[in-house]
Symmetry: D2
Subunit: 306 residues, 4 copies
């Protein structure tokens, strides 16, 4: 396919209360690597299977939660193209100069209707560890902890998600892979910018800008079980799982980082293509859609956000 525009989630920046404990959590338990610490104290992380400079940014703050999520676009010209489209849509974008984050080129940023800051960038330096390109091994650095392969997607909570849906489809060329329609309207959407069942998802929530979880991709269900063992062994709070989502079909476990930010590690899910129908869910089977084995929501999933 002619691939252009938004490629994938590039990185997410979260606020954490305790930096050393957070670094331990994301590196020792989830299995990322620390790339560097910036002069302002932000810490940049990546998995060993990612080429780009970083995919996860931790910022020390007094409240946990979401600062921003940045998508990588194919080429620098895309930034101008999207800035114009965003402006035409009636949203103001700002500019973040290259170097505001180590290794990352210029970004444009804007607030979507649900109150979340989204950014786009086209350029990233590569950093170590990363896969070798010539005669590569399956991995260069032996996987550890939960063996996370990549930062994969985020689920965000906020109002006006119908407007988010319209914006992501019309302006950023995403497609809606799955949606939940309740009697009182759209409850949730799973949006894809490529062939994954979701790159970003939204659930309707009265308060804007809230963060539900950041998800890491694992190789298989066996690694989900291994992650569960790690969580209990190190007394990390599990939200739910191991289980499966009916929506996206991912096999998953949810837990919390030391600041209360929710994490997911998951595997699987079908391959999405733009000619596939949007899968739809109603209130009758929503429980099965969210947690396929439990077949009902747990209270925390709908209410605990940062």
């Amino acid at each position: 396919m002619a691939i252009s525009g938004v490629l994938r989630p590039g990185f997410i920046q979260l606020r954490v209360l305790d930096m050393p404990g957070s670094i331990d959590h994301y590196t020792k338990r989830i299995g990322m690597h620390q790339v560097t610490e910036g002069p302002d104290g932000r810490v940049y992380l990546k998995t060993a299977d990612e080429f780009d400079h970083h995919s996860f940014v931790l910022r020390r703050a007094d409240t946990a939660g979401y600062d921003l999520m940045a998508f990588k676009v194919l080429e620098d010209a895309d930034l101008d193209k999207f800035e114009k489209r965003i402006a035409d849509y009636g949203i103001a974008a700002d500019h973040v100069p290259a170097g505001e984050m180590p290794g990352i080129g210029r970004r444009i940023g804007f607030k979507i209707p649900s109150g979340h800051r989204i950014e786009l960038f086209a350029h990233s330096e590569q950093s170590d560890p990363k896969p070798r390109v010539h005669n590569p091994d399956v991995w260069e650095v032996e996987p550890h902890g939960m063996r996370a392969l990549r930062f994969d997607h985020a689920l965000l909570y906020g109002p006006e998600i119908e407007k988010n849906l319209n914006f992501f489809e019309k302006v950023l060329d995403f497609r809606c892979a799955e949606r939940v329609d309740m009697p009182d309207g759209l409850l949730a959407i799973w949006l894809s910018c490529g062939m994954k069942a979701h790159d970003i998802a939204f659930v309707k929530y009265p308060e804007p800008g809230k963060f539900h979880h950041a998800a890491f991709d694992l190789e298989n269900w066996n690694d989900v079980g291994n992650a569960a063992d790690i969580l209990t062994r190190y007394d990390i709070s599990i939200d739910i799982g191991p289980t499966r989502h009916g929506i996206t079909r991912g096999q998953t476990i949810y837990f919390f980082d030391p600041s209360g930010n929710r994490n997911e590690v998951f595997t699987g899910g079908y391959t999405y293509y733009p000619d596939l129908p949007t899968r739809t869910w109603d209130e009758k089977e929503l429980g099965k859609g969210i947690f396929y084995y439990e077949r009902k929501m747990n209270d925390a999933f709908l209410s605990v956000v940062t």
Copy 2:
């Protein structure tokens, strides 16, 4: 990303010597379903996880081998666009009317430099079994046999693969995910039209139009082991595996259908994006690239084709 043009491998048509035995092989062992038999005796198969009418076509003939592979494009207008591009490139395309195959709209077809017929189509009816779209289960029809999820890709052997590479990149908007360069030139290419490490691949071979294998995607390494058990239990000839490819990282097993056409069932492989570097291999590590554990080619892999 803005997705357009060629989406994915739609179907492949292979020649088989014995139709009933072939149907048994692809349905009972690999786990596909027979959709229908056409008036000309061709048999149409699909997996239960595919929406489109069929993904595998068997044609009775006196020699085994490859007839054609058809890629699905996003919309009908793409067919005209690609026909013009192909003509501009200097290759003549022919037209196959809708209905030549049950459930499939009009196709354009052409011969690439390696001597293989490739087709493009934009429209397919859906057929059963297929995933449900509203409140779906993880599967509607219980998986059986090797539990194949989809027809995934093919590897073809022929001359002039440098020209194939140029054609697929320039005309069909594919990207080269991996390549093998030997002292005497390009030996092999893995081409992606989306986010899989390969949708079609070519190995240089003196005889045009030869077929190496058609591959089916499995859920995980456990299913590769299950496939291996099935192969020995039913005395199906294994070529090699279970093993892993260094190239694409897929975990795999190769075997032969009753007519001698090679099949692969595999899982995994990294997620490809168009900003990722092409991974390159040379003769020093080619064995590891092809069979990561054996670290050397087996003779059959390079010489046995249909």
Copy 3:
């Protein structure tokens, strides 16, 4: 080791309310095979990996629950030896003649302090399907449904489990692999007659003779996930899981048969040897012992029995 006496759980007999639905459940979903139906309407089931005539007996009744569990001993003389030991212990044993169940030789039966009937037998005919003995394949009959390998163990609820412990250790030569001691006394015991972490287990409960679950062994965690998919797909009520037990370390899922009898399918658990220490649990970590990931009991696990 010199192996003698009680070898393993031979079969369990459960009461079911609806025979056709129960047969469907145990054959189509759990993956057993029906061996025969007796003249009194009892239905005899086995897995394809078991040699003995049957391992599971269903009896139509108006209440669900436990009739008996029978252990196989190595040789006929063991029956006389154990009958004497049991009598010396002060428990009366009765005789069940050969042929009372098809394929099974004479049995001795007795009621243990918790109110459950236990039987011993030495002889079983073999029945099909079963593994081949000469040049065997990994399986003769392709696994289906949850792919159960064998009836593995049962957990029973009743009073006086200290006396059960004494009886099983002193009279039947079992060993206690794990135990839970609460401030008010012994809560639960896991007893092994061989190298599995448990062949039978008991939880203290006021009412005698109650049944918690019968468990089937699966090959691995992947099959536990597959079982979970089957359970939701066919609307079978799940109690809890997929999860892991801290006690025995088994990876598991619990659900109910159509009559409300609880089933478990599980995999793993450490290899037990008689020189290993009994693992002990107290009320502080009991939740983790029972459900390692949830780290707390669910109400149903302690209260719902048949």
Copy 4:
């Protein structure tokens, strides 16, 4: 069952050419831990899941190969009982005093007809790391490398294996789980002292006292795949695999330590009981018995020993 006599393989002692490289191999790659180094330079290793002091002993020597394998018996009196039985059988046993190896009590040793030294011991101190006994976690020390769970068994090559079979059955109370009978006589035997399909195995070979492999148990087929990735990544020579044995059904991979001693990591295999028939193989299906997927022996398997 009444369990007495020989419990399990306790430890094996192998000769290695290069001690530091061997320690790296067994600790970093296979995933064991070094317990201690003795005053004579022998190095003692264990897995984190084993309670006993050690299960693997490395001795620096100028040729690689097998020194001895020691089985643990249930109690000290068993040593006297077996010494008498062995003497009655016509084999002289010698005494190794407690403390000859750190942590291990007195041993009796003797040479079996195939020319291998076998030892028995009843007492072992426990060493760290080991599982916790009170409120244990699934593991105390996070698994690493190939995640070996235990030293499981050895396969030895030598003459007179019919006599070995008789000795192990009559004197040590082992049972023969599987055997290969060729037109010219018994080729191989798999012997169990408990419920594993093999604790020790022998293949007929003209030269006495030869060593084929020492095997480590893994949790599942996924870990066999992980082991394969590790082997290629660190350029460790693979003999064969990942594959499955028809004999024992184990899923396996074979490779070599830095001195050329063959290792196996494997998972699975059926549960053996003493009332099960001995499974038999003949020359027609021997290939499938040894390597179930390849269905033929590789030359190295029958000829390369240390």
